[in-house]
Amino acid sequence: MPEPLLQVESIVKSFAGRGSGGVRVKAVSDVGFTLQRGETLGLVGESGCGKSTLSRLILSLLDPDSGQVRIEGVDFTRAHDRQKRELRRRIQIVFQDALSSLNPRMTVGANIAEPMRLQGIGTAASRRAEARRLLGLVGLRDEHEERYPHEFSGGQCQRIAIARALILKPDIIVFDEAVSALDVSIRAQILRLILDIQQQFGLSYIFVSHDLGVIKRICDRVAVMYLGQIVEIGPADVVCRSPRHPYTEALLRAIPIADPRRMRVENLGLIEGDTVGAVKPDACPFENRCPKRFAPCSKDRPALTEVASGHKAACYLNSSQSEGGTP
């Protein structure tokens, strides 16, 4: 195995709880994964599972309590400022709400060129030329350069945000729910663009989404997060076809399939409870909602262990002594 492009190791981030003396909430708890060059890793989970915090930690927009984020072996979290600047160039992000991520008082051209200016790269003319080239690449026209973000639709703003993410020639782009707010046909257009530029530039992607349908369609691997932890990680098609964690299974069964012969509302899988409520530190985080819980689940937190080559899950059902059947 070559050295991974990105390596996240036992990263932890907690935030102060509500009120004075409130307990700290672990938003990301001991998360680790790798990303190879040219690979797309999906990060899926529900609101509050920590996927956005994790993506901010990867970008070094937040400092972790502990753990490492390494790009080609260099620890981002302990890098000095000059090194951090270079590392930040190599990893870019595209947000869900593209319009609010663009500066409303800058033209589209200036928005796209801004990262270059901030990094002190090139001259005004060369930055402008580069911005124009990227504008064409993402499917917009030259004359759009002088217009302002509010004049564009959601899909077009996302194209602008993608052009801006590309201008520093990064190695990695994080897409944080980048297509979630778009209509199906626009979503398909943007996904197609995202896949095309990946091919063209050999980019690596982290694709954060709550939509497993999108993840399965475009990702090599997927990591499923629940309450700050990765509970399952593996090849996207394998995880979606034969999940090894009851939470992944529950997520999959809750997704309505666009075929009334196979799925009606009566067949939608329901799981009890919700994610609100304290997590017991020495129990599986999914224990209180899991339909398959048994004795060990409340005693200790299951570790993320390999269940097949390249496929890991954090569930006691997978350990050999508990042949209760594959979840």
């Binding site: 529900e46 609101s47 639709s153 959601g154 899909g155 209509d183 199906v184 046909s185 626009i186 979503r187 398909a188 257009q189 996904l191 197609r192 896949l195 709550h210 939509d211 497993l212 349908g213 999108v214 399965k216 369609r217 475009i218 990702c219 090599d220 996207a236 098609d237 979606c240 529950a250 997520l251 999959l252 809750a254 997704i255 309505p256 399939i257 666009a258 075929d259 009334p260 012969r261 196979r262 799925m263 009606r264 509302v265 009566e266 939608l268 899988g269 329901l270 799981i271 919700d274 609100v276």
Partner: protein, 331 residues
């Protein structure tokens, strides 16, 4: 009234326009349908196609400069569009319950949710405040809010997204409406919460024998919930079919394109994404003839020459496409 008494909701040639006569856009352009008691019709289409404007028109909640320019909306044999505003106030919430996408903005942040639900009850039923509040607690319990008695005193921001949607549903069903209009009721929710809310909506609908107009762009939700589906494009209904026909024998090229570009969980990696080229027309200057013609892969000269209206292909299946009509006639 006898004939129309249980006919459900009948909409005839509804047209809603924003802006002036000369420089405006007809965002709902001749929509007609009949929604029978106990049935669910899904209205599908992309942002800006007129789905929500249709829903707001039915409730007469279109704000100026928008206005309903023609049509009839019959409920219990009475035309809602011809009612006085006062009569309409008695109908909204009582006979038609509405659930919106964003429960946080449809709830008042400064009032407890128990108070807000009882407001709806008090507006339509001759009961005391205390009785209304008691009813509100029962409704909250009914829609699955735990510890309803205590939670009725909480404010909207104390609730999660899914719980807020339950609160809104409780308010919408408080007067046992005959019609429920649900506009993207689960779009902002996580899938596991969505599954619960969809199940709740279906159960309540069956229990009340209400009809439901479900507005969504999620084809999975459509497949799960609808009896019948209407596909809307640029202000017009371009296809109407029972749910099975729509998914397994769609007629209109737009419907086919929508189905092809959906990223469902059943599709594998490597299945090519098939976006629809171009974008929806500017309704201030709609293209002549079929409005989908500029983006349609099956387009013929005929399509641009004449307006396409819904025509029956087979029992209950209507499509506004001359090309498909000819194909099926030849087959």
């Amino acid at each position: 009234m006898s004939e129309g008494a249980d006919a459900g909701l009948i909409v005839e040639n509804l047209r809603t326009r924003f802006g002036s006569d000369r420089a405006g856009a007809t965002v709902v352009d001749g929509v007609s349908f009949a929604l029978q008691p106990g049935r669910t019709i899904a209205l599908v289409g992309e942002s800006g196609c007129g789905k929500s404007a249709t829903a707001l028109s039915l409730m007469r909640l279109i704000e100026p400069p928008g206005r309903i320019i023609s049509g009839r909306v019959l409920l219990d044999g009475r035309d809602l569009l011809a009612m006085s505003e006062r009569e309409m106030e008695g109908t909204r919430g009582a006979k038609i319950g509405m659930i919106f996408q964003d429960p946080l903005t449809s709830l008042n942040p400064a009032l407890t949710i128990g108070w807000q639900i009882s407001e709806t009850i008090l507006a339509h039923q001759p009961v005391s405040r205390a009785a209304a509040e008691q009813k509100a607690i029962e409704l909250l319990r009914h829609v699955g809010v735990n510890d309803a008695e205590r939670r009725a005193h909480d404010y909207p921001h104390h609730f999660s997204g899914g719980m807020r949607q339950r609160v809104l549903i409780a308010a919408a069903i408080s007067c046992r409406p005959k019609v429920i209009i649900a506009d993207e009721p689960t779009t902002a929710l996580d899938v596991t919460v969505q599954a619960k809310i969809l199940r709740l909506l279906r159960d309540l609908q069956q229990e009340m024998h209400a009809s439901m107009l479900l507005i969504t762009h999620d084809l999975g939700v459509v497949a799960a919930m609808a009896d019948e589906v209407m596909v809307m494009y640029a202000g017009r209904i371009v296809e109407r079919a029972d749910v099975d026909t729509l998914f397994h024998n769609p007629g209109h090229p737009y419907t086919k394109a929508l189905l092809a570009c959906a990223t469902g969980i059943e599709d594998d990696r490597g299945v090519p994404l098939e976006p629809i080229g171009g974008s929806a027309p500017d309704l201030r200057h709609p293209p002549p003839g079929c409005r989908f013609a500029p983006r349609c892969s099956a387009v013929q000269d005929l399509c641009r020459a004449q307006d396409q209206s819904l025509r029956a292909l087979a029992g209950g299946h209507e499509v506004a496409c001359v090309v498909v009509e000819q194909e099926r006639a030849d087959a």
